[in-house]
Amino acid sequence: MLERSADIKDVPYQRVRDSPTLKFYSSWEKYESGMGEPVGIANPIINERMLRGAELVELRPDGSYRGSLEEESPSADLFSVTEGRILAKHLMSLKSSLKLKVNDGENRRVEIIYLAPEAGSSHHHIRIDVGRGSSAEIALISSARSSAGVPITTMEAFVGEGSKLRIWRVSVFEREGLPISWLRVSGRGASEVEVRNVLLGGGASFASDEISLIGSKSAAKMNSFLMAMEGEKVDHLTNISNNSPGSNASIFVNGFNFGGVLVHRGKLKVTREAIESENKLSSIFYRIGSGSKTYSVPSLEVEGDFAVSASHETSVSPLPEIVLFYMKSRGLNERESLEVMVRSSLSKVLEGMDGDAIEKVISEILLRAPSGISP
């Protein structure tokens, strides 16, 4: 660990060991230049509650919060300041850590609204402890109009045996926004961890999800919807380290690129402990409009011949002609066809959330999408 006084300029942005010629895909310099004392509160794009009946927590740009979480002195068990410079700056800027505890056998639903600064950076860390035989549903909602701020969150979750944790992350920004969010989850035996993302826009949005499964018969599922317009970048990382016998691990990412930059890096690591496990990573990206850039890096690490299956697949293409033809033959115009595809992709990601709020997110997407979608 670095001491607080240490010079974090010596910490690299990111430690990359996976290619002879590639450096990194993330816009670390851009984030760093946007960091600083937070200024004001940006207008949120999503004002509706997304988890009906859930406890409400509000995170504010100055590091304060409102809601029913416990406040502790800053600490993070699953993150280290030595990992990368932006993460180090974030951890060192924390005023406190917020703790959400779900007792054995208890069920909790919490909606966390993260109010982004108009400029500068804000820092929050949340620790979630889910006891045995319990369940938790957490929604982290972050959105901002005309914000050049860098709202940063780290979340770490520990899921006890036989428990369920579902996390939604909804991040909707206009092209100035620079949100960063790291999530790390440790799931014990027979636990079920599900992470769903809707990531729209931002000058550079970074969302990283990592799940480690230990104990037997656990499950980890990630499902993400990404979208970027011209001048926007969405950078998403999904990793699962599967150490669980008889487990199931899956990652699915669906992206719509309307002339922006989409990055997805995903890794499935299947260790020797994950005997008789099933593991799959897949991603599909559609490019609509012109000038888009899409980067997909689906990695697979398999140790030993113990897993039942381990695979990954990805495709990057214009919208398939055959899909458009099918929809047109049913009387749908291009706009309506796009709406059908977006709804179809989002329905599984947002399932379980409030219907009105889902409509709000879909409206925002369609509002941004250009009128013509022919490949």
């Binding site: 990359v16 060991r17 010629t21 020797r272 980067y295 990695s299 398999v302 030993g304």
Partner: protein, 474 residues
């Protein structure tokens, strides 16, 4: 393009294991070893009586080598100490055009590899490099009649300087990474081939590289130029005896395929188990050209190789097949790279890896579609087979699409041999080893279908040889 004389090629490949079993006796003429610095590079250049421009290139590469950081993505080369290596080792043998003119100790290597028979019946030309120098060059009259140039790389530097200047280190610039720079600073040996416009060579040309000493570095440079509408097949083979200490190979292959040409490059790498093998391979394909790489990586302790094609021209295409076997405590860090620049580019990447007895296979791929590479279509697949609990497989494909009309797909699967499959085959009377060998061949079948029958047979036999250690098929 068909390869004639399958049987002879098979003999050559299978014999490389036999050749690795003994250490040839020969006289050394020059040995340059020690710290890689300016004086060492100048000494190599002086011994080769190179023109000034080549020395300048070497020294620039050395400068890059000193500046570039050690790649942090490498593993398994902890024992590599460049300062203790012999970087240039010239045997006391002049370049021969007849077998009889080669010193007996070296000729025995040749004969054990059954290369003379292969040359006689199958090959259009052959180059044999022993340590750092080409000691034999056989060029059939057919090549001379068609005005094909096939000479040792050093000779090309002297006789065809304009062509060499145009392509050497241009397809694969030395500044790209530390080991490419090291290669260019120290290169020695290799072959230069130029195929004139419209000339098609029905038989393959082969280059064979042999390292006879421990703690030796071999840095051969192969440069192939296929002029417009020409066709060329090239086979690269390699072998080394087993020593207590390691040897280091840092070769480079540059291919320039002009408009409408076809180049097929086949490597059957069967270094002995203590060679650290680094190979830098890249091709540029102009309009309508086709480049095919077939990388069979069987031997060595550690291998790093990523055949790459830059699809520069419109309607250019490439296929890259990699088959890697890590049997035992070996690491194969391989992959394929395609960069599409021209319109309507097509690429197919197929990788098959087999890990057994603690072996590790790593696949690193890059598919990059540049803006303007309209209608590019790339399909890549990467299958791994793990035969036991101590082996492993890692896949890192990078897909970068910056053109709206392009389509790429990538799929990868890591599998194992199931108990049910084994039980079924054993119930038919096969031993476990035989059953596993058969299933390995079945696993590779779909890639073997895609390559010409003769080449598939060669690879089939290499796999059988390797997996006969599991018992059975050899």
């Amino acid at each position: 393009m068909k390869v004639e004389g399958k049987a002879e090629l098979l003999d050559t490949i299978s014999s490389s294991s036999e050749a690795a079993a003994f250490s040839p006796r020969y006289e050394k003429a020059i040995e340059i070893r020690g710290k890689v610095d300016r004086s060492l590079v100048e000494e190599i250049s002086r011994e080769k009586r190179e023109p000034e421009w080549m020395l300048r290139l070497r020294l620039k590469a050395l400068e890059s080598y000193n500046k570039l950081p050690a790649p942090n993505w490498l593993s398994g080369i902890d024992e590599l100490d460049l300062d203790e290596l012999i970087h240039y080792l010239k045997p006391d043998a002049a370049l021969a055009r007849s077998w009889d003119d080669i010193p007996e100790g070296i000729r025995r290597v040749y004969e054990s590899l059954k290369l003379p028979e292969a040359e006689k019946r199958v090959l259009a030309g052959i180059s044999f490099q022993f340590e750092s120098e080409t000691v034999y060059l056989g060029v059939k009259r057919m090549l001379e009649e068609k005005k094909v140039i096939m000479v040792p790389m050093e000779e090309a530097v002297i006789r065809y300087p304009d062509m060499v200047k145009q392509y050497f280190s241009k397809v694969f610039p030395y500044a790209e990474h530390k080991f490419a720079a090291l290669h260019t600073a120290l290169w020695s040996g290799g072959v230069f081939v130029y195929v004139p416009k419209g000339v098609r060579i029905p038989q393959p040309i082969e280059a064979f590289f042999f390292m006879a000493s421990a703690l030796e570095g071999q840095f051969e440079h192969t440069l192939l130029i296929a002029d417009e509408g020409s066709e060329l097949q090239f086979i690269e083979g390699c072998s080394a005896p087993m020593y207590k200490r390691y040897s280091f190979h840092d070769g480079m292959v540059e291919i320039y395929a002009h408009k409408g040409s076809k180049v097929k490059f086949v490597t059957l790498q069967n270094w002995s188990g203590n060679v650290i093998n680094f190979n830098n391979k890249r091709a540029v394909a102009e309009g309508g050209a086709y480049v095919e790489w077939l990388e069979g990586s069987v031997g060595s302790k550690v291998t790093y190789v990523y055949p790459s094609t830059i699809l520069k021209g419109n309607d250019s295409s490439t296929s890259i097949y990699t088959i890697t076997i890590s049997n035992g405590k070996k690491l194969k860090d391989t992959g394929a790279k395609v960069i599409a620049i021209g319109k309507n580019a097509r690429a197919k990447l197929v990788s098959k890896s087999i890990s057994a007895n603690g072996g590790k296979n790593v696949y690193r791929g890059l598919v990059r579609i540049n803006k303007g590479a309209m209608n590019a279509v790339v399909a890549s697949s990467c299958d791994s087979l793990i035969l036991d609990g101590s082996s492993s497989s890692y896949t890192y494909p990078h897909n970068q699409v910056e053109e709206d009309t392009a389509s790429i797909t990538h799929e990868a699967r890591t599998g194992r041999i199931s108990e049910e499959q084994l039980f079924y085959m054993r119930s038919r009377g096969l031993s476990e080893g035989e059953a596993k060998s058969l299933m390995v061949l079945g696993f590779m079948e779909d890639v073997l279908i895609d390559v010409p029958f003769e080449m598939a047979s060669v690879l089939n036999s290499v796999v059988q040889l390797e997996f006969s250690k599991l018992g059975g098929m050899g």
